[in-house]
Symmetry: C2
Amino acid sequence: MEETLRKALAEKQSAVDSQGNAVRALKAAKAAKADVDAAIEALNGLKLEKASIEKQLQATVSGGGDGSLNREAFRQTVNNTLERRLFYVPSFKIYRGVAGLFDYGPPGCAVKSNVLGFWRQHFVLEENMLEVDCPCVTPEVVLKASGHVDKFTDLMVKDEKTGTCYRADHLLKDFCNEKLQKDLSITAEKAAELKHVLAVLDDLSSEELGAKIKEYGITAPDTKNPLSDPYPFNLMFQTSIGPSGLSPGYMRPETAQGIFVNFKDLYYYNGKKLPFAAAQIGQAFRNEISPRQGLLRVREFTLAEIEHFVDPENKSHPKFSEVANLEFLMFPREEQMSGHSAKKIPLGEAVSRGIVNNETLGYFIGRVYLFLTRLGIDKDRLRFRQHLANEMAHYAADCWDAEIESSYGWIECVGIADRSAYDLRAHSDKSGVALVAEEKFSEPREVEKLVINPVKKELGLAFKGNQRMVVEALEAMNEKEALEMKATLESKGETEFLVCTLGKNVTITKSMVTISKEIKKEHQRVFTPSVIEPSFGIGRIIYCLFEHSFYMRPSKAGDEQLNVFRFPPLVAPIKCTVFPLVQNQQYEEVAKVISQSLTTAGISHKIDITGTSIGKRYARTDELGVPFAITVDSTSSVTIRERDSKDQIRVDVEQAALVIKEVTDGRRTWADVWSTYPHQSSASADDEL
Amino acid sequence: MEETLRKALAEKQSAVDSQGNAVRALKAAKAAKADVDAAIEALNGLKLEKASIEKQLQATVSGGGDGSLNREAFRQTVNNTLERRLFYVPSFKIYRGVAGLFDYGPPGCAVKSNVLGFWRQHFVLEENMLEVDCPCVTPEVVLKASGHVDKFTDLMVKDEKTGTCYRADHLLKDFCNEKLQKDLSITAEKAAELKHVLAVLDDLSSEELGAKIKEYGITAPDTKNPLSDPYPFNLMFQTSIGPSGLSPGYMRPETAQGIFVNFKDLYYYNGKKLPFAAAQIGQAFRNEISPRQGLLRVREFTLAEIEHFVDPENKSHPKFSEVANLEFLMFPREEQMSGHSAKKIPLGEAVSRGIVNNETLGYFIGRVYLFLTRLGIDKDRLRFRQHLANEMAHYAADCWDAEIESSYGWIECVGIADRSAYDLRAHSDKSGVALVAEEKFSEPREVEKLVINPVKKELGLAFKGNQRMVVEALEAMNEKEALEMKATLESKGETEFLVCTLGKNVTITKSMVTISKEIKKEHQRVFTPSVIEPSFGIGRIIYCLFEHSFYMRPSKAGDEQLNVFRFPPLVAPIKCTVFPLVQNQQYEEVAKVISQSLTTAGISHKIDITGTSIGKRYARTDELGVPFAITVDSTSSVTIRERDSKDQIRVDVEQAALVIKEVTDGRRTWADVWSTYPHQSSASADDEL
């Protein structure tokens, strides 16, 4: 569609150009006025047609009319509300803030605490995970082993005059998007090229990125100054541990490493049984080059990570059947490659058809789906996208992201990866401590083993002082090399053999080594467990939850739009407000008694005894997402109002806290309560606004 | 006592010396053997008397016999248990760890999570505090304003050969303590001097510390090499925000600053009403020079801080009466100065007698007492110690530490300080944003105000181009200066006046300025609130809780000592274990059903289906502080055992989870349950160990 339009536009442009030339030629030749007028009319006609195509193209590239504009406006409204009600604010605001750092104010902090509490209940408690709590300050050796010191970088370019830094890929991405959306004059070929650049952006080397930036003439966005070549910038906050200045350290970029380095202790704690999972909630830090997108790309954030250790030969999961019937949007690699969109697939089918690599990975995908939707994430704007081959680390067996659609597009909020044995092996190698599990066989098993026996006497005669190096090289052969050597020695009697430590080939004869396969009895199997890692970006989930929960409705008078967050009670920052209908000591006493009962029941609530109209007080708490309000309008019974339906029931003073407790705990639904208690007429306080 | 003994010892020593001389003189004079023998006998008698005094002195200085030895042994046992059961372990152990960094393993992490949950309930929820969550990464300007960049330092000395760093005051402290406890030969005067050094240790300047280290000849503990002069080392972990290298930042050393910089927003959020409190739980960081004392002095730790903002003219507290009758160990400044020990004082009396500065401070002291004792801190090993004048910042109105006695001595675990307006003023000054509160008067008040009116015409004639500077200097006078000038002008007609911006005195005559007092009407009062700050070191509280909860009891067979943590259910890492008595499918099914009910009820628990004897399984969970165990020994009813009494009751399978829920929630006591259900005979499973 877009391509067709671009081609039509180019054709129309050249038609306009040649008609323009024709008009000029007629004028130059002093042609008859009627002829000139006719030619001009034709030119204007072509221009109108061109404008019409331009309009269609504009609509196409900006994603269906003014959708992006609506998204911006929606985001603005949500964020204004969030900042005004202190869900979050830029950190250190009185000092003009720091990009990428945000504070959660009281309601945001309560939402976060509720999300983390539910995470603990849903994952740690229900799955009997081993929770740990490790420091953020991490010595260099740990992050050297994990690869972060060498590879946790983004490519950066500098404004050559001011020194301001930018992410190289972001500049290129912005340039391509801008060009595609706003420059209607580019050819279909150029458009295709820019789209290709966007598609392979993550794979471009430093040199390729630099070349593209030069080719497109991209300059610093703020100053239009030339840019430096791209160079890698490590995203970890560096520091120094202790006073000597000799122990470099970093603020951890993820919490996972704290679990890996403790694997041995945790495995023993679990009675040396697999599978088991460890979990950690904590701060992580990434020194982003130039953070944007508000709460979605920040320099410090809360991660909740699970490392599920499993036998690589058995990735089945005993509770998989509990999630097998779930059906939700999945976006497998093949669908992405063939340009299709996400589609609903039953999880059991996705695993049995091999779309999802194994049951354990599938089980966690299902549990993540339940977690997110119970928080209030809209299931129609949640999809599980499989990583493409070029996105996945070479060691990963399979990887899926839970992506949530927000006004910024689809946002990766949870990564669920089967990382195989990579992390444990990396720390085993670096630390010299074996991070392995054992499987004791009930009966010893016979295993065929390759045995390489260098004949030291012969080797000593042949190689003298180099004997040890040759012996070690022979013993280090893998099975394939050894069997090839065996065959060659048997057929030719000798073979050339590269000894790396000597830096040369030597001749090995048949008498110098025996290579054979032997049957051995083994009593156990020692192996490095695979790890399946669901990793949750808590701040991103919360931000998407804010967007999915937000809606507006007209006030009763119809003269203004009121903001509401439809948080489920589980998530709501305050579960209940208590309002004396009018300022009156008796009502305030009742309100205090109810407040005391709510406190005892552990329900977070707020009393509002201001003289503001009850309607305004409802509106204020709707904007905080408070699901229930108790209005004290007599000394014996009170009104309880539900936020979204605005339905109201009458309940005895003594029972009010209990009812709130039941509906916020999830032990009763509002519908159930609604059918039990007398209803309050709609000609109620809500009208007073 | 100690002084008397030291004097007696010195006298006895000189008696021994002179008797020794006498013996030698007799021998030299070849005196009669009987005389020599008698003299020797007298000498030996004196030596015995000296030894006896030495023994008494040793006992006195080492704090009552072998107490310190017992404390060390006790600590070793507790810590071995804690590390073995993964309550905590040194971080990054496989890489040989980093001093001052520790991981909480599964049970420690659960205890921490329970302590923080209760803190939120007890403070944030019950007091309606505004909880916030700010980043750890903090830009320099904030910590410059708070004083941390300039003053958050410890004095450090370096081993001049190896470069190893030590805290200067710790070395001096260790030297004095060692000398006092182990060197019995020092004089009473010397002992008094060393004690004086210990008392003023915190007040010593860098030069004084250095001089003492030189005077006492203190060398590096590990190498005995000479030490450098002391110099300040800033305890904050420094880093750089963003890629430019131009924005220094630090990992916050406390969470409080995040609250102060948000004061204005929080005050508005609270409807511009005082008092209110904000709270924050989070990580804080101190790059200790050479951390020791395990969990008590670490480089990264969790703080829970409250900033209660209050009108400096009204520090009463509406709920003070709720804590006024509490009576616990308090250690006021006067008692410390006069060498007395802490004593029980009713809190109401402490406030009314002015020992505690104000009701709000007193209220928090009471709430902290309740918090700590409900966690399981032994009230007899908890005291509230008032800061001495030399410990308090100049701006602080009053300051009390909740100190808990552990094997390391009395440990400051909570600081409760009235910091007056210091912090808000510091950030107002630095940021230029007014951090103030307003009190609207119900009726306007008449206030006498000083008015300075420079007469610009006269000043212009006299000072020409310097007029503006003179005007500004006149207007900037404080009340005292202005009234003095007024008096001088009235009596002498002119006066000399220093204009700083001109750097010289000018002559001001009567016609150049009018100074008067006028009555003005004011509608409100604008002021900087005082802040009362209870600040909790969560890791320290948890460590002390471990020590206070630990005890040992003999196994049934009496052949070994078993470890128990007597955590209250509120704190216990796991509330309940479920044991099938024998390995048997039926019992395991019942155990699973009960486990499911416990999960639904949100009770953390563990099933143990190993074939280990039930007694051993009890012992294992006693060591984790699990308060209740359900043993499945039939398919219809089960045994519930309480950890400390080892009492057992019989309960129907369907009711087991409910009973556990009630006793762990605190809705029923064990005594109550014990009186309701049939008892299991003592000839029970517990004997099987």
